[in-house]
Symmetry: C6
Subunit: 74 residues, 6 copies
């Protein structure tokens, strides 16, 4: 397994937000390991309002973790 | 990529709430990058009660983070 | 924009709970700015069991924030 | 408005759990103020597996708050 | 009412996880008090993928509480 | 019952993320104990966009716990 997560520390809140997005996607990637299937499913959520809100929610949960890890970049 | 998030600190709780809304929308924006598609989907959630509640939930999760970052504006 | 949130501090847990309700509703209000549309949607969630549970969940998340801001009124 | 929540402190974790249930129900009660309507909706969620899980989730979120308020009854 | 929850302290993380499961089930049990109805509903969620994920989510929320109560068994 | 969770401590954030996945799956496994049924349900969620997002959400919640247990690997 490739190393993809060595630290939760980021330089800026924005990079922290982008790490949260990575974490949300990895949660999907570990569950559905086929990139081909994931790609095929993309329109199902990227063009559906509630699916997008749900995706945004997972990002929000991970962002809580990343923000805490960075002491809120204070 | 434009800088859009340089700090979680806000002057007031209300500005913190509005930052939480921005974060919730950005979570959608990174997932569906086309502003045109997002605009097209708007009536799907803005005129649906459960979709609005779900959107409010994502804001609530981000508001937890922003409030903690600001030591609850105490 | 009117000032509607100047502090997370409340005198009692009950007022904190009511503030959490306000926050949940504001999350909806910023997303659907038309009071008329929101009013029209009211029966859709107020007479649906799962919608009410979902609304209660958003209140619960905000109540966590408000309770922490008030050091749990201890 | 009646006083129904004067403290988050409880003697035991079980009473704290029961307070979390009260909070979850109050979240519904403030949204749908008619006891008659709430009663009518009862079978819709009490006899539906996912609705019960969702209700249990709201309790879980409130129990986090109550447990923290009681320093986990340690 | 029987005493069923006297402490959130457990000897091991695994026992803490099992306590989280108990808490999730109790949340259902207080809402639907008939064991017969709950039993009848069992196939509805135990043989449905999303229902199982939702059940797992409630456990996850309670596990946060139990883990914090045990200082993460450090 | 086999011992499967003796510690929340991991060497790296990535191992912590993988532990979060294990916890999410165990939540399902305790609810549906038949591996055969779980296997049969796999396509229902692994090929459904919202189901995958929901699964990712449970992982996110557990990752909060594991990250806190490891003091965010700082």
């Amino acid at each position: 397994m490739t190393q993809w997560l060595t630290s939760l520390t980021t330089d800026t809140p924005q990079e922290g937000f982008e790490l949260a997005i990575t974490l949300a996607r990895k949660g999907v990637g570990y569950t559905q390991t086929s990139a081909e299937v994931r790609e095929k499913l993309r329109p199902d959520y990227a063009e559906n309002a509630d699916s997008l809100t749900l995706a945004s929610q997972v990002i929000a949960i991970h962002f809580q973790t990343v923000a805490a890890a960075n002491n809120y970049w204070k």
